[in-house]
Structures are given as C-alpha cells and as structure tokens.
C-alpha cells in the first residue's frame, strides 16, 4: 500500500530573482512496511527531496500526498503526528538523558508543559525496547557515541508514532558494524511496525543488500525506482555508477573495484581459500581463476590443507604459508611487464 505518493513533483529553491530546480517531474510512490533507500551522488538533491517531503521547505510544483492527503493541507500539529524525521544535524544537548530525549518525541501529544503521562511513558519504553537500547536509556545524550545517538534519534521518531519516518543519511559518520546494525534495525522496524521508512544514504552496498526498494537519483535520468535486483537486471545500477574503476559484478549483485590486469595465473582449488587468493592476486593486477590458461599455476587447496603451492615452468614447486608470502613469491615468478 502506498503511503507517500508524488505527482509531477518539482523540488528546488525559489528566491525573489530566480528559481533553481533541483529535480522535476517526479512521479512515484513509497510503500508502507518497506525500507526504501535513496541513492545518489553528492549535490544531486537527496537532502532537498527529503526536506521537501518533510515540509521543511516548499515544493516548486506538483503534489505530495502523504497518507492520501496533500502535504500542504496538514497543520503543523497534524504533520508532527504523521512524519517523524532523523536528521543529519547533530543534536548536541547537554544534561539530557536519552530517555528524556526520546520523551521529546511525545511532544505532539503532550499538554501545555510537555509533561509525559502514563501512556506517553509506556510508549517511550516501547520505543526504547524496539530499538533495543535499554542499556543506553539512562545515559546522558552527550556521552553517547554517534551510532548510539543515532539509535536514540530513531527511538525518538518511533515515540512520535508516525506512520512515515524519513531519515537523512542515518549511517553517515558511523563505523561499519554500526552502519549494518542501523540498516538492519530499520529494515526490521518496517516489518514489525508496518511503518514507511525512507532514507538517503551513500552506503551503496548496504542499501543494495537490505533495502526493499531503491531510488536512484541523478541529473540525467531523474529518479529511477525498483527493487535492487530489478535495477541490477535492467542494467540501471551499472549505468548509474558507470565510472572508470568501478564495475557492477552481476554474479554477486554488488559493486567492486575494477582492476587493470598485467598478467595471469591459473588457480586450482576451491572454497574460501580459493576466493581469497583470487581476490589478493586480482588486487595486484593478476587475473587469476580456474579458467585462465597460463604457465604459472597455484594450488590453493582448501580449508583442510595448509599453505599454498606455486608451480612455475622450469622451477621446483614452492610452498608458502600465507597469502603475503604467496604474493611476493608470485611476483618473483611472473614475467615483468
């Protein structure tokens, strides 16, 4: 079911003298219970789109329907109960506990002084439990790491009890495990709560693995939408990121760095050790796999054997213990050039 519907939307900035259009003619929808990721290069207008959808800035033309109602017809109060946001702006409050901050998410529902009632407190605890930050709840926000703080802000958005949540680059500035954790958390939330979660990110690989829908945004094509798999099959992903040095690996459905090969080696073996040797050699400009025809060949063995064997014409078989040694040995054997 679509909760956000865009009809011929144009976004950008309008000043007295001129209008700067960032993107136009956007017609699409976002579904409830799905995690949708917005991908695009810097400066292409991801934040502008998110800001426009959150009603932080006016659209240029077209229509935005949220829960089947035009965004402009919402009052401030109604909007605060419909859309929750997690922003890139760092919320640097001191002397406020995570629980208090999450409690601020109840502001649209609380009375004049903003005091939490029993129901509000229960919802705050539920939000804390959903994000699994019971251990952080009593900590002061300014003592939390970036990843922990991001989870607190997500819990705040949950406490706001909105059907739609927009997140602007929630995984920026996080270390890799935290990025994965946040993305998985958001994905899980769409399943458990049926909320519409829409986020912008630069973490391409993660988005391709976790998102239900991908929005590709660029200057030439505007916005292209689909499941990661459809986008891959239709060639959108490879054309989207077509740049020197990056190739889309159809086999894995992920991107990898393109190598320029200067020599080739035949690999024999299988499993993890085979894959690792292949990766290490390819990084060093050696095309290596079991289909290559070459004088030099390496037996990788598998996890039950130890070490690697290097065979070169006219030389005794060399045995090396690890990949570092293998690389230097191979470098001596291969013809230069």
């Amino acid at each position: 079911m679509s909760t956000v519907r865009l009809v011929n939307l144009s976004i950008g900035y309008k000043s007295k003298h001129d209008t700067k259009v960032v993107a136009e003619g956007i017609c699409t929808e976002i579904n409830g219970g799905e995690l949708t990721c917005l991908l695009g290069a810097n400066g292409v207008g991801k934040s502008t789109l998110l800001r426009t959808l959150s009603a932080f800035q006016p659209k240029l033309s077209g229509e935005i329907f949220i829960m089947d109602r035009e965004l402009g017809t919402y009052s401030d109060k109604e909007l605060s109960k419909t859309i929750g946001v997690v922003l890139t702006e760092k919320c640097d409050v001191r002397n406020m506990s995570a629980r208090e901050l999450i409690g601020m998410g109840r502001s649209p529902y609380t009375g004049f002084w903003g005091t939490l009632g029993e129901e509000d407190s229960r919802i705050v605890e539920e939000s804390i439990a959903l994000v699994k930050i019971e251990n952080l709840a009593s900590r002061m926000v300014h003592t939390l790491s970036d990843g922990e703080r991001q989870k607190v802000m997500i819990a705040k958005a949950l406490a706001q009890q909105t059907p739609v949540i927009f997140l602007d680059e929630p995984t920026a500035f996080l270390d890799f495990p935290s990025k994965v954790e946040i993305m998985q958390l958001l994905h899980q939330l769409t399943r458990e709560t049926g909320k519409t979660i829409f986020l912008s990110t630069h973490d391409l690989e993660l988005a391709l693995q976790i998102a239900d829908k991908i929005w590709l945004m660029d200057k030439q094509h505007g916005i292209t939408i689909g499941t990661p798999e459809d986008l891959a099959l239709e060639g959108h992903l490879s054309s989207f990121f077509a740049r020197k040095g990056i190739v889309f690996d159809m086999e894995t459905g992920l991107f990898r760095i393109e190598n320029q090969y200067t020599s080739r080696i035949r690999l024999i073996g299988h499993g993890q050790k085979y894959a690792m040797v292949r990766k290490a050699l390819q990084r060093n400009g050696v095309l290596a796999n079991r289909n290559v025809e070459a004088d030099v060949w390496v037996e990788t063995g598998d996890l039950t054997t130890s070490g690697f064997k290097i065979n070169a014409p006219g030389k005794p078989v060399m045995e090396v213990a690890n990949i570092a040694e293998l690389l230097s040995a191979v470098a001596n054997v291969l013809p230069r050039g």
Partner: protein, 347 residues
C-alpha cells in the same frame, strides 16, 4: 535519588532567599536591632519613625528590587542561552541593554547641554525620565531584533546583528559623551554601574508589579524552549512553529531585560551565570526545572550581592556590578569546575 537531591536544593535555595531578605533588612549603616526590624515589617507602629523610614523606604524597596531584578535577568539569560544555543549568551547579548544605555545617554548627556540643567539635579522627574528613556531605547532595539528575526533564518546571524547593534549604540554613546559636560558624564557612568537602590517607593511598586506579570508569562514558553534545544529541524518536526517561538522568546527576554535595565541600570553577570549554576546543580536542561530554579537562584544571588555591596564599611560605595562579577564569577566558576570534574569521573 536525583529527585530527593533536587528537593533538598530547592529547599536550601528558598531558605537562602528568606535569610538574605531578612539580612538585607537588618544590615546597613544604621544598626537597628532585629526585634525592631521585625516589628516594623509586621506593622508594629511603636518603633522610631527614622527606623521605619530606613526600613520601609530604603532597605525594603532595595531588597525587593534586587529580588525581582535577579529573577527577571536570570530567566532572560536562560532564554537567550537556549534560543541561541550559546553558553555565553546573556540578557545583554542582543544589544538590548545597549539600547537602554543609549536611551539613557541621550537623556542624561543632552539634558545638560540643551536644557541647561543637569538631570541629576531634577530628582523624581529625572528618575522617571531615565526609566522612560531606558525602556524606549531597549524596546526600540528589541523591535529591530524581532523584525530581523522574522527575516533571518540562522540564529548565529541574528546574534551577530545583536552584537553589531550593541557596537553602534556604544559608538553613539561615545560621541554623546564627547560633547557633554563633565557632571552629566559622571551621572551617566554611575547609572552604568548598576544599582538596586535607585528605585524609590512608588516606582518600586510599579517595577515589581510589571515584573510580577511578565515573569509568570515567561513560564508559558517552557515547552517551546525545551523543543528548541533539539535544534530547528527536530523542533519543527515535533510541531513547533520556529519563527513564532523565536519571536516570543526574544520578546519576552527582551522586555525583561529592558525593564530591569531601566530601573537598575545594566546589571551584568547574573543573567549569564545563574542558568549555568542551575544546570550544574540540577544536572538537567529541562526548562520545567531550569526556569523556576533560575528565577529563585537569581533572586537569591541578587539579594546576596546587594547585601555585600552594602556591608558596613563599603556603605553604598560598591557598585552592584562590581559585586556581582567580583563575588559571583569565582563562585560560579568553582561550581562548574567541580561539577565538570565529577562528571568526568562518572563517565
């Protein structure tokens, strides 16, 4: 546990206000025994008229002025620090007290030049003229700032505009001083040192009444202030109309500063320091706690400063501003320092 500690602090602060208030009645150049002070205060009529006059017409108005001014400035400072998210913001940061100074400078410095009579000799009329000039000056600057705040998005830009207005006001005052007679300049300088003693009986009633209306009104801004702490984006998303909230907070804080400055001169330090003191004591940034406690701590500190300024030996020779800064700054610095150290141990 935190709540129990807070209650103890609240109790301590309230008691300190009562004690300082009584000490303000008791101490002064003329020594009056406590029993007589008490009699005068509760309305016993058989004390000497001189004593009654000293207490009811000098010490009581002064103490009440200090109490109300301290409360108002502290609330104003808290609002400014929150809205600009800047720990160094205070009531004077938007150039509002500079506006008051400019108004006063116009009246004081030009009266001698143009009217041929030094304002300081005019007594009650002069006093009223000063208050009116200060309020007009302060409110015009505030109007300018509010106007700017509707046009400008960023708080920092607004802050800089406020500081610039302050510079302009001070420059104009400098020019005025250059053309004034020495007697008037002295009167202006003394006004600038701040005093809780300047307000006499009738005016004091007016001052206290106005403040008694505005201070409770400022409590209406507690929820918006709490939301503003999260930053503009989050506050908006939680349903707050940022521009409207900002205009209200600036207006409220500005009016508080304007009125206090009009009656007491530019009192420095209290408005900046008291909110920090409260944050350190109560370990929170929730305005539901900070607002009332800033009000009380501000009142208490102002009474203490007034007391010190009047200690036997100084006899009104010490300007309030010197006391607030000289005595208050080290106290606040040490409290913040100790809290900081303890925080680091906890983390």
């Amino acid at each position: 546990m935190g709540r129990g500690r807070n209650t103890i602090w609240m109790f301590f602060i309230t008691v300190s206000i009562v004690v300082f208030l009584l000490l303000n009645m008791l101490l002064g150049s003329v020594s009056i025994p406590f029993s007589s002070v008490w009699n005068v205060l509760v309305g016993g009529g058989d004390e000497p008229v001189a004593w009654q006059n000293i207490i009811l017409k000098s010490r009581l108005p002064q103490a009440l002025t200090a109490l109300v001014a301290g409360a108002g400035l502290s609330i104003s400072g808290l609002q400014m620090q929150t809205i600009f998210r800047n720990p160094l913001a205070g009531p004077s940061v938007l150039g509002i007290s500079s506006g008051a100074s400019l108004g006063v400078a116009f009246v004081v410095l030009l009266s001698g030049k143009l009217g041929g009579v030094a304002l300081s000799r005019l007594g009650f009329i002069g006093e009223v003229a000063l208050s009116v000039a200060a309020i007009v000056g302060a409110l015009s600057v505030m109007g300018l700032i509010v106007f700017a705040s509707r046009k400008i998005r960023g708080s920092v830009t607004l802050l800089i505009i406020g500081v610039m207005i302050g510079y302009i006001a001070n420059a104009v005052i400098g020019v005025l001083k250059f053309f004034s007679v020495e007697e008037d300049i002295k009167a202006y300088v003394i006004w600038g040192l701040g005093s809780f003693a300047r307000v006499s009986g009738n005016q004091m009633m007016l001052f206290v009444t106005i403040m008694a209306v505005i201070i409770p009104l400022s409590f209406l801004l507690i929820k918006p202030l709490n939301l503003l702490m999260l930053g503009d984006g989050y506050a908006r998303n939680l349903g707050l109309n940022i521009n409207r909230a900002r205009v209200w907070v600036i207006t409220c804080s500005g009016v508080l500063t304007a009125i206090v400055t009009a009656y007491c001169g530019p009192i420095i330090f209290l408005g900046l320091a008291v909110p920090h003191l409260c944050r350190a004591i109560f370990q929170t940034s929730d305005h539901r706690i900070l607002m009332p406690t800033s009000m009380l701590v501000g009142a208490s500190l102002a009474l203490l400063c007034n007391l010190i300024a009047r200690l036997p030996g100084f006899e009104g020779a010490l300007p309030v501003n010197s006391v607030t800064a000289l005595v208050g700054a080290p106290v606040v610095a040490s409290v913040l320092f100790r809290k900081r150290k303890r925080n680091e141990v906890e983390i």
